[in-house]
Amino acid sequence: MLDATGLELIAQELRDAEGEGAVVGTTFFRERGTVEIDPAHVRSVLARLRERGYAFLASVHGVDYHPHEPRLGVHYELLDMSRVDRITVVLRVPTDAPEVDSVTPDIPAEQPGGPDRGWPTADHQEREIYDMFGVVFRGHRDLRRILMPEDYEGHPQRRDFPVGGEPVAFTFNERDALGPM
């Protein structure tokens, strides 16, 4: 199991390989280690963690940290299947430039962390984060909405998105709710 010391070792290893600014911070909470990284290094960091045995990308999900800045977060839950060990990689992007590299495509040899194959499982999950939070994944082969209709405007899981909802037509307000008939 990953402990706080092991987490620091991994973070230091990533710093050594990627540069001092690659790792923003670490958190160890309830037996779960989290590495917060600079968004620019996401592909190479995930590739290096795969080399360490974290070869299964269990989940990718989005978070809105409103009102903290940078607001949007993307979490990558990695799992080492042989040691049953987990680590979370977190990155934060601001809402005015919510862009991060997609982890789906293969990494060619000339890029940091390469050559490495991509994470195909992140395909639909990145689309969902794009749909719900508006994070744009550069290099994704087919980045479009997955849950909401194609012509929907806005990203409904952002915390400044109005709760909204359709007015419900009961008998007493059916004319208002359904419009003139």
């Binding site: 849950l147 909401m148 209709p149 929907y152 409904p156 998105f161 709760v163 909204g164 909802g165 359709e166 419900v168 037509a169 009961f170 059916e174 359904l178 008939m181």
Partner: protein
């Protein structure tokens, strides 16, 4: 003419029954028994014994209301309760509604069992539009009627886009609830199905019907496909089927 309900003339019943047999054989239409030869009172009796009069609308409504063909269609958790209405405990077949149809063309009742998302709404409306007349809709559960606990960006109430005849509340409604809703609908159909809802939602004459030219083109296409497949089917060696049977028998025996 008022009849005494207590008094039953057994002989008269016997005679009438024999007359009915003759009528079925067409025997009483000959000779002196032809209706044209009957006297006024006899003619009246003749008609009363043989003809049941009612309005055609009532008969049609009675027939329709006792054999809804629901669309086999579920949206969410309410669908689980919907399945149970067809199960042995509730047994929707008691009322003649058990024939769930897989195609909207064959169905005349759509039960919206679950929440309707914004993305699904146009598809549901199209399914409803494809159903042939006469057709009815039941909104099952809180989500479909009022979006229940999901009153947010994702859902839309069914009343927004199509006419609903009966709303069944509950989260989810028990099978008894749905059954009650269907029986309410039956009563509506028997009394007066037209409540103006359909015109409100512009839901008349919406069936997508191909024009004759399209239908001919499609028939030609299907025929061509059939001919392309036919030689392959004819050449299929019969040995294979016997071999498959033999192996199946072996595995069953083992």
């Amino acid at each position: 003419m008022k009849r005494d309900p207590v008094h039953v003339d057994v002989d008269a019943l016997r005679v009438r029954s024999l007359n009915a047999h003759q009528l079925l054989r067409g025997a009483d239409m000959e000779g002196a028994n032809q209706p044209a030869h009957l006297k006024d009172t006899e003619l009246e009796r003749y008609v009363q014994e043989r003809v049941l009069t009612t309005t055609l609308d009532k008969t049609v409504a009675w027939a329709r209301s006792n054999s809804f063909f629901p669309l086999a269609f579920g949206l969410a958790c309410c669908a689980m309760e919907q399945f149970h209405t067809a199960g042995s405990r509730m047994d929707i077949a008691r009322f003649g509604f058990e024939a769930f149809r897989a195609s909207p063309r064959q169905a005349d009742l759509i039960i919206l069992a679950g929440r309707v998302s914004i993305k699904m709404a146009p598809i549901i409306r199209r399914l409803y539009d494809q159903m042939l007349e006469p057709k009815w809709a039941i909104s099952m559960g809180a989500c479909c009627s009022s979006m229940g606990v999901f009153n947010n960006y994702a859902l839309v109430p069914a009343d927004k886009f199509m006419p609903i005849d009966v709303h069944v509340p509950g989260c989810p409604p028990r099978p008894e609830g749905l059954m009650h809703g269907i029986l309410k609908l039956r009563k509506m159909v028997q009394d007066d199905p037209d409540m103006g809802w359909r015109d409100r939602y512009d839901a008349r004459g919406t069936e997508e019907v191909l024009d004759p030219a399209q239908m001919e083109a499609q028939a030609a296409r299907e025929e061509a496909e059939h001919e392309a497949l036919a030689p392959a089917a004819a050449q299929a060696p019969p040995e294979e089927t016997t071999a498959a049977r033999a192996s199946g028998g072996e595995s069953a025996g083992a």
